[in-house]
Every structure is written in C-alpha cells, then in structure tokens.
Symmetry: D3
Subunit: 307 residues, 6 copies
Amino acid sequence: MTPTQPPYSGIRTFLGAPHARTCIEETDIAIAGVPFDIGTTYRSGQRFGPQAIREASLMLIDNDNPRFRQDPLEILNVLDLGDFDISIGDTEKSLQMIENQALACPARQLISLGGDHTISLPLLRALKQKHGRVALVHFDAHVDTWEDNFGTELAHGSPFYLAAREKLIDPQHSIQIGIRSPVENEVMDWTLEQGFTVVSAEQAHLSTPQVIAEQILACVGEIPAYLSFDVDSLDPSQAPGTGTPEIGGLWSWQVLAILERISQLNWVGMDCVEVLPAHDISQITALAGATVVWMYLGMLAKGKNSM
Amino acid sequence: MTPTQPPYSGIRTFLGAPHARTCIEETDIAIAGVPFDIGTTYRSGQRFGPQAIREASLMLIDNDNPRFRQDPLEILNVLDLGDFDISIGDTEKSLQMIENQALACPARQLISLGGDHTISLPLLRALKQKHGRVALVHFDAHVDTWEDNFGTELAHGSPFYLAAREKLIDPQHSIQIGIRSPVENEVMDWTLEQGFTVVSAEQAHLSTPQVIAEQILACVGEIPAYLSFDVDSLDPSQAPGTGTPEIGGLWSWQVLAILERISQLNWVGMDCVEVLPAHDISQITALAGATVVWMYLGMLAKGKNSM
Amino acid sequence: MTPTQPPYSGIRTFLGAPHARTCIEETDIAIAGVPFDIGTTYRSGQRFGPQAIREASLMLIDNDNPRFRQDPLEILNVLDLGDFDISIGDTEKSLQMIENQALACPARQLISLGGDHTISLPLLRALKQKHGRVALVHFDAHVDTWEDNFGTELAHGSPFYLAAREKLIDPQHSIQIGIRSPVENEVMDWTLEQGFTVVSAEQAHLSTPQVIAEQILACVGEIPAYLSFDVDSLDPSQAPGTGTPEIGGLWSWQVLAILERISQLNWVGMDCVEVLPAHDISQITALAGATVVWMYLGMLAKGKNSM
Amino acid sequence: MTPTQPPYSGIRTFLGAPHARTCIEETDIAIAGVPFDIGTTYRSGQRFGPQAIREASLMLIDNDNPRFRQDPLEILNVLDLGDFDISIGDTEKSLQMIENQALACPARQLISLGGDHTISLPLLRALKQKHGRVALVHFDAHVDTWEDNFGTELAHGSPFYLAAREKLIDPQHSIQIGIRSPVENEVMDWTLEQGFTVVSAEQAHLSTPQVIAEQILACVGEIPAYLSFDVDSLDPSQAPGTGTPEIGGLWSWQVLAILERISQLNWVGMDCVEVLPAHDISQITALAGATVVWMYLGMLAKGKNSM
Amino acid sequence: MTPTQPPYSGIRTFLGAPHARTCIEETDIAIAGVPFDIGTTYRSGQRFGPQAIREASLMLIDNDNPRFRQDPLEILNVLDLGDFDISIGDTEKSLQMIENQALACPARQLISLGGDHTISLPLLRALKQKHGRVALVHFDAHVDTWEDNFGTELAHGSPFYLAAREKLIDPQHSIQIGIRSPVENEVMDWTLEQGFTVVSAEQAHLSTPQVIAEQILACVGEIPAYLSFDVDSLDPSQAPGTGTPEIGGLWSWQVLAILERISQLNWVGMDCVEVLPAHDISQITALAGATVVWMYLGMLAKGKNSM
Amino acid sequence: MTPTQPPYSGIRTFLGAPHARTCIEETDIAIAGVPFDIGTTYRSGQRFGPQAIREASLMLIDNDNPRFRQDPLEILNVLDLGDFDISIGDTEKSLQMIENQALACPARQLISLGGDHTISLPLLRALKQKHGRVALVHFDAHVDTWEDNFGTELAHGSPFYLAAREKLIDPQHSIQIGIRSPVENEVMDWTLEQGFTVVSAEQAHLSTPQVIAEQILACVGEIPAYLSFDVDSLDPSQAPGTGTPEIGGLWSWQVLAILERISQLNWVGMDCVEVLPAHDISQITALAGATVVWMYLGMLAKGKNSM
C-alpha cells in the first residue's frame, strides 16, 4: 500500500522505523546512532552524522529495493534506538559506554551510524562476545591500522590496528576496499603482514564489481562478517561531507554493485561512519550512507526470506 | 537535573517532547508541523520548515528561559504530533485536511510549525469553532491581506484577507508588526480600513519594545489572541532562510523583548511560518523560529503557573 | 566572428537567443521555461530551474560544439519565449495552461525547461495533436510511471503512467535510461509489461555509450521521438541541485556520448526537468541541463544541415 | 492591475523593465550593468553583480513603495540596457569604454549597477559633461580616496581621490556615510582637508536617520547630487556578498529611512556597486542593492510627480 | 609606506606578523592558536578557528585603526607562534599542554585564538602565576559557569565556574556582557552570588556603549584585566560561524564602541574563542573575531604610546 | 617519525614546507603562488587559489605516497616562497612581474600555484631561458589556444597560442588531455595544424590510463617537459571550484593513474591553475590541485632517488 504522507513529513527515524530507547529480543535489527567525533584527526562534526543519515533515509522509505525486489522493513523487524550516550571530551570513557550499550542491546543485530571511525573498536569488542573473531569487510580510503594518531593511541586512524591486536577481527579473512590515502610505508607493510587484503581504489576502477565481489567472497569465506563502511571510501565528489577526504575514490555505483554480489556472506553487524553534514552538499553524502545501510538491510532480508 | 545526553543526540522532536501521532485530552500543547508550501509566490521549500525548527530547538532543551525563569516543558504537558497530512499539489484539498486535523486535536492548544503562511487560514478556521473570532498578533514583513496572488485567490499573500472576510479574526483588535514590503496602495488602504493596526519595521526601530508591547496590549485587549509569527518579519540577515525576504526588518532581540512584555494576553494558539531551510545559513532562521515558539510556551507556562 | 562581450555580460536568455513573449512561424525552435514545481514529492524549488539553465548556458554561447563542429544558433532560428504562465498552488489548472501555451506556439519545435517532471504530461498532450503518439527517450533515476503519488494522482512520479494510458507515448518504442530508484515491484512490473525498455544506471556503467545508443536506436526506430531529460538521471555528485536524488547515477560524459550517437532519430521535441538551483553547487547541475539542451540543438542542427 | 505571472517567472531585467541595447531620448532612466571587477583589492567576482541585482529585483516588481505610495515604473520610463562592454584584464581601456558608453546614452539619467567601485570614476567623468561638478552622497565602509592601491593608481580604493582631483565632485558638498575601515591617517586627513563630510557608522548608530538626513541635506544643498551606494556600507551580516567587508556597519533600515528623507535633492545619477554574489547568502546583499536602487527610482518618481 | 602586495597575497599569519614557533623576551605580544574543540556541547569544528581568524585578519593589515589613529603593529612587537600542541580526544591532557605552553612563552602578553571556550581555563591558570587573580571582562551569550556539561566536569560550559573556584578570576571584579542563553536558575543564581556582574544582550540594546563601558570600568577597577571574547556574544546574523548560537545577540558596532571606551584598563591578556568556520558565511564571523583582536592590540598600543 | 601535531594545526605553507620570501640555490623545488585572476573570461576569484591549495595540502603532510612509497619532502629540499607580486588590474605589467620573479628564483625547479591560466605564459617565458623550447603536458577542458579573448589578446584562453607562437613550447611534442569545451572550428583546426595532440575527455573515458600514459610518453619523448594542470580538466563534480567548468570531464583517479605512469619524463616545471575556492565545496577542488602537485613532487623524488 502506498503511504499517503510524502517523505518530507514526520519525525525522522531511520527509514521511518519505530523508535524506542531500548530494544527487545524480538527486534531483528536495532539502529543506533553514535554521535562521537573527538577521535578525528582533521575535520570534526561527525556527531551530527546519525541525524543526517536518518534525514537522508526519507528518500528510501516504503519502496522496494530494485536489486532485491523487496522492502527490507516489510521483512525485518527494525527499531531505531536513537543515539548511544557518550562522554563529552573523553575518548576512553566514551568507548567504554559505547561497548556497554552495544552489549546491552538484545536485538539480533546492531547497525551503528557514526560518528567517526573510532567507534568500530568498541562495537567490535561487543560483537566478539557474541560471535568471536569476525571477518572485516571494510570500505575506506584509509587502512585505519595506524598504531599512533599524532601522539594519541586511540583515535579514528587506529580502530583496526587495535581490533587486530585484540583478535576481534581476523586479518586473514579481512579485506579493505578503496584504499588510497597517504600512509607511512611501515603502516602499510604491517597491515599486509597481518594478512589483510588491500584493494586500492584504482584497482577497483581498473576491475569490475563482479571481480571485486568474488575477491571479497574468497577472502571472507564462511566466518561471521562485519561490514564497516566509511563514506570516505567514496570519491570526495560523491562524499564531500566527511572529515578526511582523499581524491580518486570509489563510485557509489560500484559499492552498490559489489554489495549486491556479496549478500550471501554470514553478516553479523555493520557500521556506517564519518558522515559530516556540515561539509555536505544537498545531503548527498548522507544519502550515500543511508543507501548503503538500506542495501545491507536488503541483504539481510534476502537471507531471511531464503531461509 | 542536568541531562547526561548532549543536545546533538537523539531523535528530533520539538524541544525533545514526546512524540505521538494522536494527542489526548490531557495534553496541554500539541505541536504539529504543516509541511505545506505550494501557496508560496516566490521561493518554495518551506515544507522542510517543521523539521528545521525541531532540529534547531535542540539548543533550547532542558534549561530555564532566563526571562521567565522556568523551563516550559516542566510546567506544560507538551506533545509533538509530527506533521499533518497534506495533499500534494492541491491547495484547496490540503487546507481542508489541515483544518480537519486541527479540529480533531483534543489538546488545549495547538502550535503549528509551517509551512508557508497560507496555513494560518485553515488553522484559524478550526480555532473559530473553539474560540469564536480572535485577535491577531501578527509579526510579518507583509500584511498578507491581498485579495489576489498573481491570479490565485488562496495563497500565502491572502490568509488574513480571507480570515477577516470570514470573521475568523477581528481586525479592530488585530495588529501587524514589522510591515515593510512593497504593497499596492489599495491593499494597504483596505487593511487599514478594516481596522488593522499596522506597525512598520521602521516604527519599531524608532521606538522601543516597551512602547510596541503597550500598543499590542491596548489593541488586543481581553479577547482571545492568536500569534502568527512569520520569520520574514525579521531582517533577512537574521532570517535568510525564508521565501519572500524584505530588507530593513525587525531584530530578534526586539521580538523577544516584545513577547516578554505581552505574556498576559489571552493566548489561544500560534503558528510559526515561512522557515525555508534550503536558504538558511547555519540554522539561524530555524533557531529564531524555534526560540519564538519556546518564548510562546514560556508565556503559557507563566500563565499556568500564576493560575 | 568572436563576440566582444564576455559571457558574464548581459541579459540572460538561453544561449543568448533573442527573447519575445510570442513566437512566429519562422522560428525553428522556441525555448520556454515552465516554472512549475508543486508536483514534487520531496524537495521543491524547481520553479527557479528555467532561469538557472539560462544562466548556466552562458558558458556555451558563440562557440562550436566540438562533436558536431557547428554552433547550433548559426543554423537554427531559436527564440527564447521566457516562461509559460502557471497557476499558483493548482496542479490541474496549471497543466491545462501549459498545454494551451504549448499548443499556441507556432515554432517548428518546442524545448521546455522545467520545472518538475509533471510538466512532461501537458507537453506530450500538446505534442500529440501535431505528431500523434511518440517514442519516449527518457533519462531518469525513476521510471515515473507511478499510478499514485502519496495519495495524489497527478504529480511528478506519474507523467509517463498517464502518458502511456492516454496513448501519448508508445511504450513499445520507449526507453528509460539511468533507472535505479526504490520502486514498488508492481510499478516496475507494470512498466515492463507495457513494453518500456528499462536500462538501469548500473547496466550503463557496465556497458558502453555505443551499446546503449544502439539499444535506443533499435527501440525507437523511425517514429517521432521525444527526449525527456531529468537531471536526476545523473549521479548526485554531478547533479546535486535536484529534488529526488538517487546515488549510483549516470555520468554526464556517458549522456553526451550517447546523445551524439543517436542524433539521427526523428526528434520532435524535448524537455529538461528537475533542476533545483537552491540545492546546486556552483551551477553544475544547471550547466549539465544547459549542455544537454545544447547537444539536442546540435542534433537538430546536424539534421537541418544534412537536409 | 495585479500581474498574473509570479515574480519567479520570465527573463530577468531590472524590475522587469523593457530591455534594449540602446536607449532613446524619451527614456527617463537607463539602467546599465557594469561587469567590471579587476579594480578590486581583495575578493573579486563583482562582474556578476549586475545580474544578481536584476534577479533580486524580482521581489519588488509591480507593487507600490509603501514610503512613497507609488510604483516608480508606472511614473518613470525605465529601460534596462543590459551591460556595458568592458575590456578583459585592462583597467584603463575599460574605464574609457565605460565613460564612452555612459556619454552615448541619451536617457535623462543613468543608473549603473556594478561591478567594483572603480566604475564611479568614468561614470562621474561622463556626468561632468552634462552637469558639471556634482555633490557626492556616498554610502560606504571606506572613504575610497586612496592615492594608491597596493602600487596601482587606478582601482577601487581611489575613485573619489581622482574624482576630487579632476573636479568631478565638490568635496565641500560631498558626504560619506558608514565609514569605518582601517585607513592610513594621511588618507583620512587628506579627505577631511578636501572638505568631505565623513559620518562613521558608529555616529549613525548613535544618532537617528532624521539627523543624518538633515546633515546630508545641509551638506549637499542645491547643487546636482550623485548617489554612490557601496553595499559594504551595510554591516557584513546584511551584505556578506561583497569584496571588502568591515564589521560594525550600517543597517539597511537606516539607509532606507535616510533616503526617504533626502528625496528632495537634485539627483542626477547613481550607482550601486560591490555586490559579489559568490559570497552572498540567499541573495540578501543583492536584494539590498536592488531595494536601494528601487528607493532611488521612488525618489525620482516623487520628484516627477510633484512637478 | 603602502605595501605593494594586495592583502590576498602571501602566507597567512595573524595581521601578517612574523612567524616563529618559539618567542623571545623582546616580543610584546605572542599570538597563539589553540585548535582544541572537544569541549563543545553542540557543534564542533572550532579547531579551524585559529586559521580562519588569521585569514580574515588580512583585511586589517598595514592600515591605521581609525579609532586609535595608529597601526598597532608599528608600535608593538608582535609574533605569531602558530598553534599550541594539543592531544587528540583527551581534554585533561590537552588542557595541561595548553597551560604548559602558555607558561613557557616569555612574551609580555599572550593572545590566544580558539578553539572552544574550555581553553580559557588553562590560559587563566597560566596567567595566575604571573598576575595573580584577575578581573574577567567576558563577552558571551552564556555565563559559562556550569558545574556540569551533560555529565562532564570540564568542557566549554564550565571554564569560569572552575576559574572562580580556583580563584583565577575575581567574580567581584568580573563582568559578563551579552548573556541571553537558556540557563538553569541554579546556575544563574550561583553566578550572581559569586559577585559576577551580568549584562544581558537586551540590556545592552536598551542602553548605550558608553553606559556599558562605564559599568565595565567601575566593575573591573585597577586590577589586572583579562578579556575573553566569545564570538557567540554577537548575534547569530553577525556570527553564524559558531557552535552554540543564541538569537538576540550583541552587535559588533556595540562591541567595538565599548572596547574603544575601556582601553585604559590594565590589560594582561585575551582570548578570542568559538569561531567555527564550517558554519560561517563569507568569513564574517572570523572577521569579527580578528577585528576584536585588532582592537585589543590597538588598546595595548595606545597604552604603550602613552607611556 | 610520526608528527605530534594534527594536520589542522599551524601556519599554512604548502605541505608544511619552510617558508622564505627568497630561495637559495640549494633549494630543489620552490613553490610560488601567483594570485592573478584578471585574465578570466567567466568567473573570477582564482587569486585565492594559492592559499586554498596550501590549506588543502595539510591532508598530505608527513606520510608516504602509496604509489611511490616515499614522502617527497624527505627526499627533496622544498621551499614555499609565498606569493609572487602582481599589479592590480593590469595584465601586461603583471605578466612581466611574474616572469621576472620566476627568472630571479635560483631553485632547481619552480612549481606555481595559480591563479588563472594566463600565468602559464610568463612562466614558460622564464623557463625558456633555462631549458629552451619545452614539451607541454596539458590537462584541461580547453585547448587555451585562442588568438582572442572577447577582444583581448592576452587572457586565460590564449597562453598556449602565444607560447606556440613564441616558440616556448613545441606543439609537435605537446599533448592536451581532457579537452571538451565549446570551441570555434578555426581554433581547433589551428591547434591540430600546429601539431598538438588533443585527447578528449571522452577518449580518456573510453580508453585506460595506461594507454593515455603511453600516448603522452610517445608524444613528449626525451625533451624537457612542463606540466600544466588546469583543475577544470576534471569533471565539475570533482572540481566545482573553478571558473570555466565543462561537464563530462576527467576523473581524478585517471589523472593520478596517468601521472604515476609518466614519472620518467624529463620534468622541468609545473603549474596548477584555476582553483577558485569561492565556488568550491569542502575544499575538494583545492585538494585535487594539491594532490596533483604532491604527485608531481613524488615523480621528481622518484627521479632523484633513482639517480
């Protein structure tokens, strides 16, 4: 049934999902914003990312995804939790709070809307308790495996350095797509030595989504997979609203085409990070983020349907 | 108690008030967005005004208003209804729908967030059933008493022409502040002949808020009063995000100072219209709108407290 | 001869063409703005599209198109009519007015600058009287064959549903390129059942302009062809200034390369719609629209030259 | 009669006046854009000022000015000439061209839309042939009497230094309002020694429009008066779209109130300069410029009516 | 001597002052940026404030201040230190680093460019070692004497709560101008009980700069005075580029007029905080900040000259 | 060693290189801004290009280029000279000043940051004295070989017309990539007749970076090569901040991939022109320019290392 309210109407929740501050066990998917941005090394303002993604998701409400021919919200029980609590100006305390809130959520899966990329660390820490070590499918311009962020251990350049160290992710089954930033040779060498598969943006441009998708499938295999989508994986023309842009990035059509082709993975969670609306133009970055989350829901719904 | 969540967190409702699609009789104040903008004669996009005002209201949550020394949400039972349904591309049908929804709301008062100024007409039509003919306290750059809008009878230049004709408002007890737009002599003459008091923006600048407030109090008297706040009453520097700006406008400090001094009126409803976020800069127009609504709530709360 | 006035000079008409409110029969091409935007289901403001396209066309004045090696304005007699009258806030009346004005124009062809996509319907209604049922070559993110627009029959999601129903276009000879929006399965199924050829943006990316052009040529054949170019067919990075963006869109280089390769079609008219300057950045959306219209003029000029 | 076309419709000329590249002697007022901006010492882009002022003037079409209770275009025969030719990258040649074109215009008066302030010099040179030495009524943040512009004699800091030197203006009857920029003591001393009356923005704020108007009337007296309105006389909040902003500026309400009170001067021409749309927000600077020109037309129309 | 380089040229230091990472004892004034913004409770991005203020200061180079008739850089030995080191994501550590760097600077005075308002605390801690307890002259929309910031002790709402507690400032000799934000009654009561003089923005509007200046002079007296200028003291129309705007603010002309009248105070340091360029329009907020610092230098230069 | 200062800190020089107004002979590479923009035929404001490129280069500091696996500033001795002097409003004099300053610089190579494309002419004139006639590797939407610019000989459409005429460049060894603008047939014919190789943007899209790189290598051969990078070679979505955009442009990933493959050329200098920050969004155009210069430094560093 077509809704009678145009999409610019009403209180903004993600895809118009119902909102409650606490979720219940019947919830398939809980959506939580994580307005944390003090881990950024360049621009800040990602704290407004969750709301921007919600606002942009209006364009996607109440229709079928033409790739999957379904509306994921008709198949999955989705709840928008609002935003996780964080502590102003205190990274360590905030990360602990994020981890605790993720652990406290009884939904089958949690999708987190960032916020800067630091938040992947506490989310993966929480996930480990449920799924053990996971495979990382990581779209980004940066490897995010720095040991150090201009003198700080814990910030948005280091979540996967620590996640690998803490055995939250398995680098042998992890893959990074869109990589192209300046990076010290030692950081890149360490990353490759751990076993991460690194696909540069140029490689993606010179290849096809089908080939990249097969590379992901081969790398990840059967183990539980976590999707971490940093909007700066996209070209700055498609994602100007972010904190650490790098030219020469991925195209959104490539990302969507790749995701469609890896829906069969054993997905256990995702985050969409680094949307910075103060630098966006006409919400295009936020729309990219929202659409990727919508695609992820479509992948899950496809899996549920085929069960 | 200070909240532990910073204001950039969470689902956006007006001032963080609870949200429900239908209100109940215990509700003191229902807030409803009216995303109608097809009555505009210049720029459109006011359909996003309600959400912009909600978003800007974050800055005002959970603190006391220093003029009234209270937080209106601790005194009044406020509910955010979300947005009224409207009909795309059809003024007549939309206005009927707005009137019906206003009538169906059992709250003690309704505050409407526009949307363009056309919406004041159906809101006043609904109000008449409850309060009879009301006094209009109208902040605007334009008298909005045109008989015609470039060939159209019913649009945002004519709500108070029709409201006067339909005896929804009493021009003898109605006052317009901030007026300065180009206007045909016949329209201005008709307005004055009806009995409207017209205070130009220049008069306000050459006078003081105290004097203007006294003028309003004297004009309105004891009869039920309706506040219609068009953000284009403000100078375009303070309200660039609107559809029909006129230079030389009121200052927001004047508006706040005037409102503080007319809190004793017998208020029965208000609307805040013509916020157009696509033309705003850093939400300043939306913040002005939100703050005026917050002041209005403060006036009501003061009245309730003094009861 | 090179002009001595730089392009930022002078009164803005499309490509600097002469302006008159009424055209005469010697006119090859009449350009008309259609500032109608109340059929939009998300953002409004397309009423300023015609002027934005005119302003952006300055960059294209007085030079040859390198693909066709001619300046279309040296070959074709082009007149800028200014904008069609519309009725504020009244879709039905406005569409009738647009149809009447299109019918009253004696130029050999009419090019319309939108405005939202609703306007294609009255333009096609007028065209039918001259050319009968036409083939539609339609660049868009959306199929625009919805039967319903959030409760409204006639809005920018439905022009081609009605055009097919009214036999203004022949779906068997009609093709839609760039399609990718969320869409109910029933709408897509109906569209395909009517015979429309639907080429998704992803298909275009995985193919070449030459192949797409051949597909268009094969689909349209010899019957009169109408070009409807919605700027949201382009990726939001290239066309942020529009009302209903969808990520993963076409590239402008693809569109230009396709158009160059289908110049031999029996063109009878075109529209360029959904330019929304309030959301544009540095006029890039308007420039895309203006360049596509300029390409269309080049196609016509090539045809005239080869006669 | 109310027009049936909304103001966002049609080809943009100033106030919708007819357009012709050459004017005739019956023309009361010729409007000419002067898209010259290479005399700027900070931001450039004022070449787009004329079109921005035309576009913003849409808001003022076909209504009466409430201060003068007339529509100047019903009283005066106004023609929009489009833009004067200039020479790219060559100040000297451009100024000669501007002077020649001003001289060639047989209209009773010329109103020029800048462009940067350098253009006042050739305009005053042309005016001298008709009216001899004139009084200057000059709204600006800067005295514009620098002998030197970072090594260049002729640029936007020096028009009135040269105009005084060339006896185009009479400093004893000239007044500058809104002055507040950093300025070398020698420049200010020279200016005062010539006899210019300098009214700082702070003086205007601490006084009233009535007092300032009386000061202007007393200073100018009966001799022919030329109005040069630099939008940077206004506060940057009201005129962000300009090249050399200075904080603490005039308010537009003050400017309008002053102009209303000096309509009886013997006006012989005006320019409105330094509108820079690339730095504007929602056209507010352009609207301020357009409104001041509209006020000037109102003053002339009042004079004509009273004849 | 007039410079031969236009102001848009060259490497940006504050007012074009020489740059060195360490200052020497002969330096009168050291300028230091403090790119710390993780103490913000609403918008972040003030880390780019220092550079924005430097960039905007270009407009003020190499000319005399018309109020003081001198160029402060010809009188004072000014050095731009660049920016202080801070620690990403760690408030406590950053504040210690700021204090240490301020202490290590041997210049006669330090002017700090923020950054968010949290930085005033470590700057005052460092200042205490040199001057003991100081008087605070504080322009702001907020009292900044909160004991708590949404669960955090140390953030931009609390510097003066802690400064009063730590006896860095003497509330009896401290004055806050422009105050108008929502504030819990307890916070305002505590502030007044400590002895702070609070001047609301409305009081400033209803009074004159001369009266406010006299109030400041009387409050501060002879003790060492520290100026803390938060750009959100200004109205959002004049300072949109900030993190926690409140409507109804001060005018920049008032601030300049007040400063001119309090130059005789025993100034020992200043900061200019909360410039957030990502939300600014055409640098007007940054220009306001830069001009206030330039005024402060003019006050110091006047004092030095009169010695 | 990782720096302890985040990239948003400190005085902006290109890549954080040391700044001095004069360079010495040991300097490998001198960077000079050329804030000249009066040769533009459409938008102006490129005078702020040099600073915008410096600011955007912050993102690239202190890391290795992943393509070359080195940080060019660790290998090359780079100095930022600040900006060249120019003469306001006088093209001829400015170009002479630019040439003189380029000649006076004893560094091994000069990299110039524009400014508009006119500046390539004096830079090539200076280069000729050192290297004789050079090969031009030219990325642009326009051939820039116009004999005339709307009546002006010397402007940004003509540098390579004059450079060919003056035998500063050898057209037989010169190649232009990204060409697509409207252009008179005579201009294009003349260009091809001189021997320039012209690669359209569409050809680049239908080919691969490897093929284009081979075409460049074959065309240029062993003679000294000069890189002129106009950001309008990029698509307007990736470079909105420029003066004469043309749709259908190159992608930044293609440019980077091509540059990586032509590092072995005998490079003797480069310029990066037409960055216009007032029309940019979130610095993406400036970042593209900065990254291309960084790639050029990487090519030089690779050559130096391999020596």
